[in-house]
Assembly symmetry: C2
Homo-oligomer: 479 residues x 2
C-alpha cells in the first residue's frame, strides 16, 4: 500500500528500517506540473474556512496562480468566516466565494474541510451535490470513521482521495510562506486513494499535496490515516504533552521550585531544547547530549514513564480503532451548541511567571521521550508505515506543534487544531497526568525496570529519522 506510480511526478523509494516506501518530494519547481497532474480539473472548491480550509485555499491559489485553475471557497450562508475569506481575496463577484453546496456542485475537485461536526451532520447534502465524475477530497480520516460507524458508503460515481498534512492549518500556511524563500519548507503529507473512477486519482492527490507545499508525500490508507491521526493528537501531539507538562510543573513546584523555574523545567525544556534536538538530530540525541547524573536521571524517568504511557496509547488506539472515540466526538459536538469547550490554559503554570532558559531538564526529557516512543511502538505494532509513524509521533510534534506552545501557551497549540483534536486533548491529557503522578513518578523515585531504556538504545526509529532528515529543509517555523 505504500508503493504507487505517477504519470507526472518522480516517485522515489526509500528504505526505512527494513521496509521500502514510495514517496514524492515536493518543491516550488514542481508547480508547473500541477496543471498536468490536475488534468480535467478547472475549478477546485475548498469547502470550509477553518484552519485547514483557510491554509489550503491560500496555498493552492498561490501555487496555481496563472494556470487557469480556479480555487473557490464554499461557505454556509451566514458563516462568520465570510469576512476573513473576503479579506483574503475570495469574492462572490469573481466567483471565488460562494454558498457551499453551490461550490460543491460547480467544482471538479472538492476539498471537504469543514469541521468534523459539520461533516457528520451534512455529508448527505454534500454527497448529493457532487457532480458525477468529480473528485472528493478530505484531509483526515474523521469522515471515513463516521461513515463506518453509521454504515454509510462513500458517494458513488466520484473519485475519493485524501491528502493529510501532518500539521495544523496555521503551520501549513506559515511554512508555505517561509517556503517562498527556502524551497521545500512545509508540512509533510500522506495521501490515500479510496476510489479512483478515471485512473487519475493518484496524480490529483499528489498535485494537491505538492500544491499545498508538502516537502514529501507518502502513501497510506484512509483507515490507517484516521487511526494514526486521531491517536496521535490524543497522545504525544497534544493530549499527552499537555498532561506531561501540567503534571511535571506540579511535581517541581511541590519539590520547591519557584514558578518560573518550574515552568522552564516542565515545559520550556520540551518546547525548546528537546524539540530542537529531536528535529535536528533525532530522538537518540536527546539522551546522548546528557552525561553523568543527568543521563541517569533521564534513564530513570524514561524507564518509569514508558509503560504507563504506552498502556494509555494502547487504550486510545483501541477506542479509536473501534469507533468508540468518534462516537464520543459526535456526542461532544452536539453538547458544544449549549456548552463551550472548557479553557485549557487556566492553570497556575500558564498564568504565573515563566522562564525559558534553554536548559534541558533531564527528568522532563526522559518522560517526554518515553511518551513519544511509546506512541511510535503502538503505531508500529498496528502496522502503520514508518513515514506515518514518525510524522504523526515525532516530526509533527517538534516541527509544527510544540513551537506554538512555546510561543504562547497550551491553548495556542491545542485550540488551533480541529474540534476533534481539541476534544481529544481535553479528554486524554488528564489521563496522562494521572498515570504519571500515580504510576510513573512513584516508580521513578524507586528502582524502575530499565528494560525500556535498553530497547530505546537500539530502536529502529533512530534509523528512520536519520533517513527522513534529508527530505526536510532545516527550517524553524516562525510562529
Amino acid at each position: 500500500m505504500t508503493t504507487f506510480t505517477s504519470d507526472v511526478f518522480d516517485v522515489e523509494t526509500i528504505d526505512l528500517a527494513g521496509t521500502t516506501e514510495a514517496i514524492v518530494r515536493g518543491g516550488r519547481h514542481l508547480f508547473d506540473r500541477l496543471p498536468a497532474a490536475l488534468s480535467g480539473v478547472r475549478r477546485i472548491g475548498v469547502i470550509g474556512w477553518g484552519p485547514q480550509g483557510r491554509a489550503q485555499a491560500l496555498n493552492l491559489r498561490d501555487s496555481l496562480a496563472g494556470t487557469g485553475i480556479t480555487v473557490t471557497v464554499g461557505l454556509r450562508t451566514g458563516s462568520s468566516s465570510v469576512a476573513d475569506a473576503e479579506a483574503n481575496g475570495f469574492r462572490r463577484a469573481d466567483g471565488t466565494l460562494g454558498d457551499w453546496l453551490d461550490v460543491v456542485a460547480a467544482s471538479d475537485l472538492v476539498l471537504l474541510l469543514v469541521s468534523d461536526a459539520a461533516q457528520a451532520a451534512h455529508h448527505p447534502e454534500i454527497f448529493a451535490a457532487l457532480r458525477p465524475g468529480s473528485t472528493l477530497g478530505v484531509s483526515h480520516g474523521f469522515l471515513a470513521g463516521h461513515l463506518a460507524n453509521e454504515g454509510v458508503d462513500w458517494p458513488a460515481g466520484v473519485s475519493v482521495i485524501a491528502v493529510c498534512p501532518k500539521g495544523m492549518g496555521d503551520s501549513l500556511r506559515r511554512l508555505y510562506r517561509q517556503g517562498a524563500e527556502i524551497d521545500g519548507a512545509g508540512i509533510n503529507a500522506s495521501f490515500a486513494v479510496v476510489a479512483d473512477h478515471d485512473g487519475h486519482a493518484t496524480d490529483r492527490a499528489l498535485a494537491w499535496s505538492v500544491g499545498i507545499g508538502s516537502p514529501y508525500t507518502f502513501r497510506t490508507t484512509l483507515d490507517d490515516e484516521r487511526r494514526s491521526d486521531i491517536v496521535g493528537e490524543r497522545a504525544i501531539l497534544l493530549g499527552a504533552v499537555h498532561g506531561i507538562v501540567e503534571s511535571l510543573y506540579q511535581r517541581y513546584r511541590i519539590a520547591g521550585a519557584a514558578p518560573a523555574d518550574a515552568y522552564d523545567r516542565a515545559c520550556a525544556t520540551i518546547t525548546g531544547p528537546v524539540a530542537r534536538t529531536i528535529s535536528r538530530s533525532g530522538l537518540r540525541a536527546v539522551r546522548d547530549e546528557l552525561a553523568g547524573a543527568d543521563r541517569e536521571t533521564f534513564d530513570r524517568a524514561y524507564a518509569a514513564a514508558y509503560r504507563p504511557c504506552r498502556d494509555l496509547v494502547v487504550e486510545i488506539y483501541d477506542e479509536v480503532a473501534s469507533g468508540t472515540e468518534l462516537r464520543s466526538v459526535v456526542l461532544a459536538g452536539r453538547r458544544l451548541a449549549r456548552t463551550p469547550l472548557a479553557p485549557v490554559s487556566g492553570s497556575a503554570m500558564w498564568t504565573g511567571p515563566r522562564a525559558a532558559l534553554g536548559r534541558t531538564d533531564p527528568f522532563t526529557a526522559g518522560v517526554f521521550v518515553a511518551a513519544m516512543v511509546a506512541q511510535v511502538d503502538v503505531l508500529a505494532e498496528h502496522g502503520h508505515c514508518w513515514s506515518e509513524i514518525v510524522n504523526e509521533s515525532v516530526i509533527q510534534a517538534v516541527d509544527s506543534l510544540l513551537p506554538y506552545m512555546r510561543a504562547r501557551d497550551v491553548s495556542y497549540m491545542v485550540d488551533n487544531c480541529s474540534i476533534t483534536a481539541r476534544l481529544g486533548a481535553r479528554k486524554w491529557g488528564p489521563r496522562f497526568a494521572a498515570a504519571l503522578e500515580q504510576v510513573a513518578y512513584p516508580a521513578a523515585d524507586g528502582e524502575p525496570d530499565r528494560a525500556p531504556v535498553a530497547a530505546f538504545a537500539d530502536h529502529p526509529v533512530h534509523d528512520v529519522l536519520a533517513r527522513l532528515a534529508p527530505l526536510r529543509p532545516p527550517v524553524d517555523i516562525s510562529v
Copy 2:
C-alpha cells in the same frame, strides 16, 4: 413508575420535594414473610462470588435460615473463588455449590452477579440454561445496556427483575452483620421489574431486597438504574472524589502545606467531618457549620467548582446514556487479559505521611459539596426519582464508600467495586482533577459567579434528605 403494590409487604408513600414515591421499609422482623413473597421459589442460585455475589449469598442464606429455601452458589469450573465460598459454608456435597450453568438450570430464582465482562461474554449460555418460568435477577444495569448495544433481547419465558443495592458488596455484608444488633442497618436498594410472567415479580424482588438487608427499597426502571449507577460511580461516588482529593492535595502542597497537613485538608476533611455531617444532618449543614471567613471560603470554592463539575457530569451522563461508555468498558475488559488495571494509590498523597485531625477545611468542603450537588442536578434534570438521586449521589457516598477511603486509601474504596466502576473511576477521576486545576481553582482565586451558592441555599435536595433520614438507622459502618 415509582408506585407499586405488594401482596406481602407494607407499601408506604413518601413525599419528596413535591413528588410521591412508594417504598417498602426493611427489617429483620420481615424475614418471616420472605417465604410468602418467594412463593414458588425453592432454590436461589447466586451466580458469581465477587463482592456482590459473596455478600448477597451470605445475607440471603442468613435471612432465609430455617425456611427451606436453599441458597446455592454457582461458579465456573476452576474459579479461584471456590475456596472462599467453601470456607463460608457453601459445599458441593450438600448442593449449595455447583457449576454455574448447572446452578442456573436448577434454580427458581437466579441472581446473576458475575463480573460485567463475564455477563457480556456469557449471557447466551446463561440465558439458554434458565429454566422456563424461573426468574432472572441482576443487581445493576450493565447487562441491560450491553444487550441494548448488541440488539439482543432478554430471554423469553422468564421473569426478569433487578435489585440494586446502593453500596458495594463489602458494605452490604458488613452493615447486614451490624444489623443483627441494630435492626435496619443496611444498604438501601432500588428494584425494577423488566418482565413479569406470573404476576409475582414485584414481591420476589422485594423479598430479595428485604432479604439482603435493605433498610428501604424504592422502585425504578432498569434503564434509570443503569444510567444513575454508572454515572454516579464515575462522578461523585468514586471518580470525582478521587480527582478532587488528588488535585486538592497538590494545591495545598504547592501552597506550602506539609504532606500530613495537606492530606488532612484534602482528604480526611471529606471522609471524616464532611461525610459525617452530611450523613447525620444533610448537605446544607456542611455550610451552616462554617462561619465568617470559613463560610466565605466554602462559598468561593463551591461557586467556582460547581459549573466545571456539572459540565463533566453532563458529559458522563451523555456517554452512559448513549451506550458509548459501556462500549469502552467492554473494550477495556478485553485488554485486561493482557494488561492489569493500573494502581490508583501510588501518588504522593497515599504513600506519604497522613493526618486525620477531624477539622473541616472549608475550601475542600466547598469543592466536594459542589461536585455532589452538580450530580444531583444532572440526575434530576434527567427525571430520576429522588430516592435514586440521593442514594446514588449522597447516601451511598457518605454511608458506604467514603468510610473505605478513610480506613485505608482510595484503592480500598475504588477497587472493592465492580470492574465497570473501577474502570470508570480511572477514566473520569483525572478529568475532574484537570477541570478543577484548570478552571475551578483559578476561578476561586478570582471572583467567581456566586449564583450556584444561591441555588444551593434553596435546593430541594435538603428537604429530600431530611425526609429520608428517618428511614435509615444512624449506624456508622464498621470498616
